[in-house]
């Protein structure tokens, strides 16, 4: 048992370090972007991100496990992790705008798109020239994605699409999207869905940013008014949309599983506790503060070493176990509780924010973003269902709408 690279891994790490050293500057003091607060896509930042993405794609580092000539080098998942670790030590533009497209949309296109589509879209996406978004969630279908209502109707060789999506990350700067629609409301909900890819610049597509509770606007509403889509833009068979969506969501879990969320953690809480006085002396000496620090530390450390276990399986060429599925449940609620506790220690000053608040408002920011983190990419509740059903093998929920035609289903409003 050790934390060392194998000889091959060490060689790859050296190769990645050499390439990064030649192409980027080592990271200074700036901390990593907060994943919970999605980018607004300022023009300059986006240009820098695209340029960096292109450079990586040309060298095969953009999607290491993908084939050569498609932005990849036919490498292993472990090499992909090693490159990510190494890249995080350099001051490089965010790859955030491409994460959804390359992590979920393009793999779906690769699995279900025709040869022509693959030829046309894969390389521009991996080079950062074209950005993709995922159009699944709707006002009437969040956790219950298959309850969506956006309607696609066949008219000749085209489909006409009307409806609305919501919580669409990055829609405001996306060029294309994969869109899950209802093509047959007369059959049970999972059976009447069909997947398409669409052009986000079509005038029949309207993107409206959502102002989030945290103040940021990473998410959008997207409206479709008589959007006309060619039948060749269909991914999978008519009525097979749910199976196609599961492919996408499987990739989503792989992508999100490794995320650790905000940088606010035990270290920051301890730094805060060292500066504050409570009724009985320094906060860091207070027994209740120390108990909480320890509780959160064992969660953070537990996740870190769980990631190491997953990496070990990959390093040995094995399939990782299901333990990686615990990360987001643990991270999101820890962030919420730890941030709230930090504000509690700050006392009345805890109700301030930004530069007026202690620690530059880091605890307030974490507290404000954490509700979103507990919901996005699968709510805590859905993730618990997934662990219970897929990992532990417990029976699925009783679904009263399972065999009922979609248009006969009771709805709230």
């Amino acid at each position: 048992m050790d934390f060392e690279d194998t000889a091959e891994e060490a060689a790859f790490r050296a190769q990645a370090t050499a390439w990064l050293s030649a192409n980027a500057k080592p990271r200074g003091k700036k901390s990593a972007d907060d994943m919970a607060e999605m980018e607004n896509g300022a023009a300059a930042e986006m240009a820098a991100s695209r340029a960096w993405q292109k450079k990586k794609a040309e060298a095969g580092y953009a999607r290491i496990t993908w084939p050569k000539g498609q932005g990849g080098m036919g490498g292993t998942p472990m090499q992909s992790i090693i490159f990510g670790q190494t890249e995080s030590k350099f001051d490089v533009p965010s790859g955030g705008p491409f994460a959804i497209g390359l992590g979920m949309c393009i793999p779906t296109l690769m699995a279900y798109g025709n040869e022509e589509a693959k030829k046309r879209y894969v390389v521009p996406a991996v080079q950062g020239d074209e950005i993709w978004c995922q159009l699944f969630s709707e006002p009437a279908g969040g956790s219950d994605v298959a309850g969506l209502r956006t309607r696609a109707e066949k008219k000749g060789d085209e489909w006409v699409i009307n409806g609305q999506k919501i919580w669409t990350t990055g829609a405001q700067f996306s060029d294309y999207g994969i869109l899950l629609t209802r093509t047959d409301p007369n059959v049970p909900k999972h059976k009447g869905l069909t997947m398409f890819y669409i052009d986000m610049h079509d005038p029949a597509v309207e993107v409206r940013p959502i102002k989030q509770a945290s103040g940021g606007s990473g998410f959008n509403e997207v409206f479709f008014t008589d959007l006309r889509v060619k039948d060749s833009q269909r991914l999978g068979e008519v009525g097979q949309g749910w199976q196609v969506a599961l492919t996408t969501l499987m990739h989503e879990r792989l992508a999100v599983g490794g995320g650790t969320g905000s940088g606010l953690d035990v270290k920051e809480l301890m730094a805060l506790a060292r500066t504050l006085e409570l009724e009985d002396g320094p906060a860091i000496k207070n027994a209740s503060v120390r108990e909480r620090i320890a509780d959160w530390y064992v969660r953070s450390a537990g996740l870190k070493y769980t990631t190491y276990r997953t990496m070990t399986a990959l390093s040995r060429g094995q399939q990782p176990g299901p333990e990686a599925s615990i990360a987001k449940i643990v991270v999101a609620s820890k962030l919420q509780d730890l941030a709230a506790f930090g504000m509690e220690l700050e006392g009345e000053a805890g109700s301030l924010k930004g530069e007026d608040a202690p620690a530059h408002g880091a605890f307030q920011m974490g507290w404000m973003s954490s509700p979103g983190l507990r919901i996005a990419g699968g709510t805590d509740e859905i993730l618990r269902n997934i662990i219970a059903e897929r990992v532990l093998g417990l029976p699925p929920d009783v679904r009263v709408d399972k065999d009922m035609p979609f248009n006969k289903m009771p709805t709230g409003r």
Binding site: E291, V298, A301, Y308, A313, R384, L392, L394, D397
Partner: protein
């Protein structure tokens, strides 16, 4: 990255599981649980014959000299089986104390007998309710004689020898403390079996009245040595705890699949599913923290005290949660003597308190974090 046990270690674990599945069912556990016996002597003999007591004892002291990773995988299986044997007291505590602080002569005297299974040992610290701190130690060790009283000494009835934390001088705090090894069959030692929450791991009260004892380590170093031994024991115990916690999850799952209420399996209700998902999350976090502890033991890493505290806290939380929610998942039947839930519920507390409560370990964890931040 190689943060997992090797194939050989996994094979050892597999063997241990098969062996214990045959030799140590919960019927075996209940036999000790429901009698005055301190342990299952036949099982203990077989455990020693397998070489497990000498797993990490060097070969020149009669052990297998395998190492701590091997000991950790055995510990997990003993924890799964709730093995009613004095393994932890003898191997994680007594042997570790001798290895940490013993003279060459003491190592020669005790370690081969532990490896062969002839000797049962334990470690006596607490003298009353509340935290074990230097000023709570009133037992004296002066001129080779031990006097005083220790409580809640696990395996204190069956052990032949004990390491005792005692006061050897009037110097305040930890500097006045010493460790002594006492022959529990010798003159001046009285033992009383104490009523214990987990009678498959029984505790005893030990009273010393001028009992002859030999010093273990230098005077003044006792507190540090005790702390080092407890750290190491905490990591191995964490493996017992995750073994137990995994069984609780499996029991709860099996019951949730077979028990029907309101016309369907109770495992189809989210109230039950989410509880079991949380058990899984706690267990996996605990397992990962314990693996880090195992690495620290194996390499004798500088980070060992922090790794031990994290493994201890995480595993205690996981086993506590799994044991109580397993009982809850079973409903009324889970609160009966016949169903095994209570064996795990009781063992989870015994293991969670035996090396000191979570409170103590959490405080220690943060102290270690403060030290590592300062470094």
């Amino acid at each position: 990255m190689n943060f997992d046990f090797s194939d050989d270690q996994k094979m050892l674990k597999d063997q241990a599981r098969k062996f214990l599945a045959e030799k140590c069912t919960t019927k075996t556990v209940r036999k000790v649980f429901e009698s005055t016996a301190g342990h299952d002597a036949a099982l203990w003999k077989q455990v020693a014959e397998m070489g497990w007591t000498g797993t990490a004892i060097p070969e020149n002291y009669g052990g297998l000299g395998l190492g701590y990773l091997e000991l950790c995988v055995v510990a997990e299986e003993l924890g799964r089986a709730l093995a009613p044997v004095p393994f932890a007291s003898t191997v994680y505590l007594f042997a570790e104390a001798v290895l940490a602080a013993g003279s060459e002569e003491q190592k020669q005297k005790y370690l081969p007998k532990i490896a062969s299974g002839e000797l049962i040992g334990t470690f006596a610290r607490a003298e009353g309710p509340g935290a074990v701190i230097p000023k709570s130690i009133r037992t004296t060790f002066k001129g080779g004689k031990l006097s005083g009283k220790k409580i809640a000494v696990t395996d204190g009835i069956d052990a032949q020898v004990a390491v005792v934390l005692a006061r050897s001088s009037d110097e305040v705090g930890e500097r006045g403390l010493s460790l002594a090894i006492v022959d529990l069959k010798g003159a001046g030692v009285k033992r009383r079996a104490e009523d214990s929450i987990d009678p498959s791991r029984k505790n005893a009260e030990l009273t010393f009245d001028n009992a002859s004892a030999e010093a273990l380590g230098k005077p003044g170093e006792a507190w540090g040595n005790t702390s080092r031994v407890l750290d190491r024991a905490a990591i191995m115990t964490a493996f017992e705890q995750i073994g137990g916690a995994d069984v609780c999850l499996a029991m709860a799952k099996d019951y949730a699949l077979t028990r029907y209420a309101f016309g369907r399996q109770i495992g189809s209700y989210q109230a039950i599913k989410h509880k079991l998902a949380d058990m899984y999350v706690y267990n996996e976090l605990a397992r990962s923290n314990a693996y880090y502890g195992a690495w620290a033991l194996h390499t004798n890493a500088r980070e060992l005290p922090l790794a031990a505290a994290a493994a201890r806290v995480s595993a205690t939380q996981a086993f506590d949660y799994a044991a109580k929610e397993n009982t809850q998942t079973h409903g009324g039947i889970g609160f009966t003597w016949e169903v095994d839930c209570h064996l795990f519920y009781k063992r989870s507390r015994q293991l969670g308190l035996g090396l000191g409560p979570q409170r103590t370990w959490k405080d220690k964890l943060v102290t270690e974090l403060e030290l590592s931040n300062a470094a």
